[in-house]
Assembly symmetry: C2
Homo-oligomer: 459 residues x 2
Amino acid sequence: MALRTQSFKRFTVNVNSQIRHYSVPGEGTVPSAKAKYVPKSGTYPKGFLAASAHVGVKASNTKFDDLALIASETPCSGAAVFTKNKFQAAPVTVTRDMLQRRRGNGVRAVVVNSGCANAVTGKGGIEDAIKMGEETDKLFDEDYNSDDKGSRTVVMSTGVIGQRLPIRKILHKIPTAYSELGSSHSHWMRAARAICTTDTFPKLLSRTFKLPNSEATYSLAGMTKGAGMIHPNMATLLGIICTDAPIAPSALSTLLTSAADKSFNSISIDGDTSTNDTLAILANGAAGGPEIVSDNDPGYAVMQKTLTEFSEDLAKLVVRDGEGATKFITIRVTNAKRYEDAKRVASTIARSPLVKTALYGKDANWGRILCATGYAEGVEGVVPTETSVSFIPTDGSAELKLLVKGEPQNVDEERAAEILEPGDLEILVKLSEEPGQEAVYWTCDFSHEYVTINGDYRT
Amino acid sequence: MALRTQSFKRFTVNVNSQIRHYSVPGEGTVPSAKAKYVPKSGTYPKGFLAASAHVGVKASNTKFDDLALIASETPCSGAAVFTKNKFQAAPVTVTRDMLQRRRGNGVRAVVVNSGCANAVTGKGGIEDAIKMGEETDKLFDEDYNSDDKGSRTVVMSTGVIGQRLPIRKILHKIPTAYSELGSSHSHWMRAARAICTTDTFPKLLSRTFKLPNSEATYSLAGMTKGAGMIHPNMATLLGIICTDAPIAPSALSTLLTSAADKSFNSISIDGDTSTNDTLAILANGAAGGPEIVSDNDPGYAVMQKTLTEFSEDLAKLVVRDGEGATKFITIRVTNAKRYEDAKRVASTIARSPLVKTALYGKDANWGRILCATGYAEGVEGVVPTETSVSFIPTDGSAELKLLVKGEPQNVDEERAAEILEPGDLEILVKLSEEPGQEAVYWTCDFSHEYVTINGDYRT
């Protein structure tokens, strides 16, 4: 496999507050406030390669790469979690089938196009997604058709709904992407940019970690893209995580499901769930050491903690880039009898337009938080006289108590305004005084710009 | 009981598009686009009287009436439906208790204040709500304490959350309102205005109807107020319906529950459910005829249809006045296996910020409608290849098919723009080709002004 290093166009930091280009991949200009989220270097997992290529999936996109390829140098374990939307896009169906057929073994690559979601495209769309996988498989000669389980490629698409892919153009450029594969930071960054649609910055993270009973230093790398939806696009949350730790497919699947629950399934931009949402993980074991086969293995718990935290950090980048967002809100619901109850309350608060507009307005409106807590569906154990609400400042100063066991507090509005001024804020809802389960949700505010992006784009 | 007619200050029609005053009752200026929803006359049920008075519940309100009183000249049947929010305001608790204790018999009045919701106010708030009821009871000397079932008054409050009522001021003005009671259109209109908070127009409807086996002409009158929530207010959906038809309490309760399900429980402004939402009905039988006691009575079905349609029309007025709304959207989901499925799909579409911003942007974005259909929770029988989506124009012209049995249609964008231009639109989602259950939901769009009203009011 060719390993080429390629120079990468440096990000131009833009001083304007927010630039969002509709339906084209991130184009190299990053709003100044977001520049700190774009890493300048990284530590990437051994035996993985990344690349991008320009297809022009949208005819209007004449210059930005819109095809990404991630490959493992050896067949590896793969797992994925998918949208629960009943209108699942063709690549979701095809990838799910592939992973089931292979039982997560012998995966080689992830191929992603932006610009067209290949969703609601009927049988033709399924055929297109299959072709994308097969074209990628062919590049790995030694493995193609080496077993009878078919494709080895995870396929993802994001962009316009209800339109067919320009499949010939895509197939034509998959070998081009392959020829560009490399393992440097800029290779990974190019791939992270190519999967973007309306994102204002590419979302790429990497880190190293240790596992018990192993001398090796392992790496994790992950990229994701945001979940805003622009007409006629239905942009999508996509995530790809790679690690050189050795993990068997069934363990990889449970690790990913649990990590996703506390990360990508614990964020909300606007409550809409797309047809294409996919989070996939590949583990090729290239760093060596004993394989994690089940949750009895000593490395499992550490791997779970590492993967969950990494997934949380990736998912938070999506919220940081929420359409029109001016705030990054952590909602922590504690002392619940059941985790599901805490999560449902947190998710209901995170989705309330009234809470989100109040936060945009820097308004200490605990009534709206309480109200959302009270109408969260299917929740047990919300007792008005046991419920407390506070703001937790991000500077480490004391919490501001708004409601204590159902009693409204005399709120110092000046202090509230101070706490609400910065972009980051934590809302703490205690459902009781008894220790219990906790859930954390991340969300952003609802701004004029959200409405502009999602409603006004034509004018 | 004094029956005084009082001159009523004519509405000033304002040529500016929308005027919304925060936290004070509607002040007599109605946006020109909304003037058509304010009736200039009405036919009101016999034996009911209405009035308003100025309390100044909010200290800043020095001139607008903020106390409404509706009274029946004789003890009557009463029923109500309430918010399902777990943080129920004191008047909700007190009114629910009153109706249970009385089993809906012998009700005399509804007393409502705007400007303070008496929500999250602890035991003191409960005492305040009880006092409002008792003060009203006292005015009906002949009935007060004439049985041992306590208060005869429905109590409602709407406005700021977490603050105590200025209860002495309110109690002081209840006799004033009583002395102003009358049965003219302007009496009803004054009461309808006094319950408003951020509404831009008072919402009052009346109509006459016939029942089988009766020569009498019956009347229905109803008023409601909108469900926007403004800090530090938690404004509320309140509704009061009066009829002079003779209906026993248990029948009244089932009639109301069913009507509410298809009307006030089938609208959404922003998906938030307040602590105070209450819809109450009083039936005094003053127009005579045989009493409707159960659903076996010949009048029951006609009464149900009449009350449901009337409630729908009242509820639609709330949507017409949705905060920042520029569109009135009817969402019709048909051919479902179960009514609940149809309703959940309709409600999910109605709550999707992406659908609502697209409608604001006059964007034929069926992908977002489909997407919301696909992620509606707990719904059976959504099959992508069976689902069709159309826009139904309000001018009676042909529907515009967007998706037919899962196949995207080649949409004439010019025709779509024509259909999306007027303020009213119907979205039709067919879940199958087989006849089945249908649910209708009414909602409005999400505009910049919604964000301004709910986020920017301080700036």
